[in-house]
């Protein structure tokens, strides 16, 4: 494993600027997630590190060495794609061993066997090694695809939404497993996703990316609690942060246009108060209820204890504990 640095990288495809001056360091043994919507430039960043694309400017360094001009095969990276493509005619074992059998690597057969079995155990597919790759469920196939990368010990694992084709349940299980495996192996991972839950639960640091620019990078907690702008604030949190006129809950600092109210910072009490709202709808999501409120004509969504017994038409008062203020351009203003 090694430290990987992206230094001021820009990349355009025709008129589309995919990445603008991106700088990012992934420390040795670190799990960094790039979080952003479709078209934000996340996959381009991965492909540049892998050498599948060439940057227009800037450089890529792996373990201190400039690899910008190196061919993909010389960079010692392992890529896991969103769509797993396994060799259908080969067994699970042979699929996983494939990369180790490359003529340039010359790994002894006994070592291959040991390594594949070890990784298969980590991924809970050790009993499937003799199966044809096509005799597996979708979740198992994706684990084989991840396993194929894990048998190698590259400088960095590059993962492009590897869980997005799986169903919700399996995704939940693999999230925890992947994180555990990363810690056990001390692996360096750059993981690309548009799913905030994946980024929050697995990454040691999250880079929020939008329109080819890195907006903020930090630990999940830093990004959640201390977003630099309204866009980042809205990317994380379920239900999403409520963005409202700055003075709605009382005095706002100079320059503040909007106030962001996270659901856990809103205290709801029965009956009207300084800030009154009307319950429009209650969504029972099981472990928690979402209250949809009308606050001076603006929609506000907040959490309530399922046993609180709020119903449509109830009038409630709201208090905001930790306001996050933003200026007219969405940038944070100190409270």
């Amino acid at each position: 494993m090694a430290e990987v640095e992206i230094v001021s990288v820009s990349k355009a495809f025709g008129k589309t600027q995919a990445l603008s001056d991106l700088s990012l360091t992934i420390g040795d043994g670190e799990f960094v997630a790039l979080l952003g919507p479709t078209g934000a430039g996340k996959t381009t960043a991965l492909r540049l590190i892998a050498g599948l694309e060439q940057p227009d400017s800037g450089s890529i360094r792996i373990d201190g060495r400039d690899v910008t001009a190196d061919a993909p095969a010389d960079r010692d990276v392992a890529f896991v794609f969103q769509q797993y493509s396994l060799y259908p005619h080969l067994s699970v074992f042979e699929n996983m061993a494939f990369a180790l059998r490359a003529p340039t690597r010359r790994v002894p057969e006994a070592d291959i066997r040991t390594k594949v079995q070890e990784v298969a155990r980590l991924l809970h597919i050790e009993t499937k090694l003799d199966n044809k790759a096509t005799q597996l469920s979708g979740g198992q196939m994706q684990r084989v695809a991840i396993g194929r990368a894990l048998v190698r010990s590259p400088s960095i694992y590059l993962m492009d939404e590897p869980l997005s084709s799986l169903d919700a349940k399996l995704r939940g299980e693999l999230r925890l497993e992947l994180k555990r495996i990363q810690v056990d192996l001390g692996a360096t991972i750059l993981y690309v996703t548009h799913d905030q839950t994946e980024a929050m639960t697995m990454a040691s640091r999250i880079g929020v990316i939008e329109g080819g620019r890195l907006l903020q990078i930090g630990s999940p907690r830093e990004i959640y609690e201390n977003p630099i702008n309204a866009h980042v604030a809205a990317r994380l949190g379920q239900p999403a942060i409520n963005l409202l006129p700055a003075a709605l809950f009382g005095r706002a600092p100079v320059g503040a246009e909007m106030v962001g109210a996270r659901t856990e910072h809103l205290t709801i009490a029965r009956g009207g108060g300084d800030v009154s709202a009307t319950v429009k709808r209650v969504e029972h999501l099981g472990d928690q209820s979402h209250l949809h409120l009308d606050l001076a004509g603006r929609p506000v969504v907040t959490l309530a204890d399922p046993e609180a017994g709020f119903g449509a038409g109830d009038v409630v008062s709201l208090r905001l504990n930790k306001p996050l203020f933003f200026d007219a351009n969405g940038w944070r203003v100190a409270a």
């Binding site: 925890l176 099981g286 928690q288 399922p306």
Partner: protein, 365 residues
């Protein structure tokens, strides 16, 4: 508007029994979700209500009238598909108005209704745009416009948000529910996404292997699952299951789990000694040193407002939801106990929930 009544509906495709004696009623103006994994028979059930498939047995009543053998076009329903096909050579206005044109409705009336539908869906500004340049969400709004412009008795929707990405889907969930509240049309909505169903439905019918396992409000489905399958399918993360061997007497208020007694809602039926399963929702697991189950922290997942804590125990991995302010160390030993009044007990062999005081609570929704 209309009531839909499905009675003992059966459908076989050759030797494959897709739907097995499904019965449920959708009241006038209600939003019902048919929820289940792929292959459970939910889409087949929907297509039978629409008249796109004929049932092998059973009846379908629309407002009391038996329509089981009626053609789809004679049922006055609108179907919204997952893959919405819009006419690429027509603009938004003509796409929405097309069903009315087919019905021979005059241009003036047609335009009035298209404008009305566009206003409801908030796409008035797009009416003269070509559909080919539209974003996914707007294309789905146009597809919905084509359904609502006909003012049908009911809407049938087959995973209409399945093709959209996460963020757009969340926005559309609220939009669709708000649209339903404005129109008040009876709606049957098929999805495999439990969060979608929980967020939108008045009632949910959970299907598994062609069988309707439970029909109830989202709250009841979550708090009082009728079977192991329902308890496992609903909830993220799903309910924890602790297998144990034991019997129950009517009125019993505890079970024996290992060396300890665990308080449960009072049993309302007796069970001879057999394999049972204790069901605990992650938010009802509490950390306490005096806990009845001990385990080791396997990992935590930070979610902002809360965190999911996975604990390895002799009953397998258990998941707990805890405020994110509390910190846990991997490998740390912890004690767990469970909130007694919320627990479910299942018969392992049949998967059926055993009747307890839990099922006598207030009926919600």
């Amino acid at each position: 508007m209309a009531q839909i009544k499905v009675e003992a509906l059966d459908k076989s495709f050759g030797s494959f029994h897709a739907v097995k004696s499904a019965s449920f009623t959708v009241e006038d103006g209600q939003f019902l979700c048919l929820l289940g994994p792929s292959g459970c028979g939910k889409t087949t059930t929907l297509r039978m209500i629409a008249g796109l498939e004929l049932p092998t047995a059973g009846t379908i009543r629309l407002d009391g009238e038996d329509v089981t053998m009626n053609r789809a076009s004679a049922r006055d329903i609108a179907f919204v598909f997952q893959l919405f096909a819009l006419y690429p050579h027509m603009n938004v206005r003509r796409n929405i108005g097309f069903p009315l044109k087919c019905e021979g409705i005059g241009a003036a009336e047609r335009d009035r209704r298209v404008v009305e539908a566009a206003r409801i869906l908030r796409i008035s500004h797009l009416l003269d745009r070509s559909v080919s340049g539209l974003a996914g969400g707007d294309r789905q709004r146009v597809a919905l416009g084509r359904a609502i412009v006909r003012k049908p008795k009911c809407f049938l929707m087959d995973e209409p948000l399945g093709a959209l990405d996460t963020e757009m889907r969340e926005a559309m969930i609220h939009e669709l529910r708000a649209l339903h509240d404005r129109l008040g049309a009876t709606t049957v909505y098929v999805t495999h996404d439990q969060l979608e169903a929980m967020a939108m439905a008045d009632r949910i019918a959970v299907m598994n292997n062609g069988v309707v396992e439970q029909v109830a409000s989202p709250r009841d489905i979550y708090d009082r699952p009728a079977s192991l399958f329902v308890a496992d399918f609903i909830g993220s993360p799903p309910m924890n299951f602790l297998p144990f061997r034991g019997g129950l007497q009517t009125g019993a208020e505890a079970i024996r789990l290992g060396e300890r007694d665990v308080a449960i809602p009072a049993a309302r039926e007796a069970m001879a000694e057999t394999e049972l399963v204790l069901g605990v929702r992650p938010e009802h697991v509490r950390f306490t040193d005096r806990g009845m189950v001990r385990g080791e922290i396997y990992g935590t997942e930070y979610l902002g407002t809360t965190q999911i804590v996975t604990v390895t125990t002799s009953y397998g991995a258990l998941k707990a939801r805890s405020p994110s302010s509390r910190s846990f160390r991997t490998g740390e030993t912890v004690g767990l106990d469970f909130r007694p009044d919320t627990l479910s007990i299942f018969d392992k062999a049949s998967g059926r929930a055993i009747r307890t005081a839990l099922h006598e609570g207030v009926v919600h929704g």
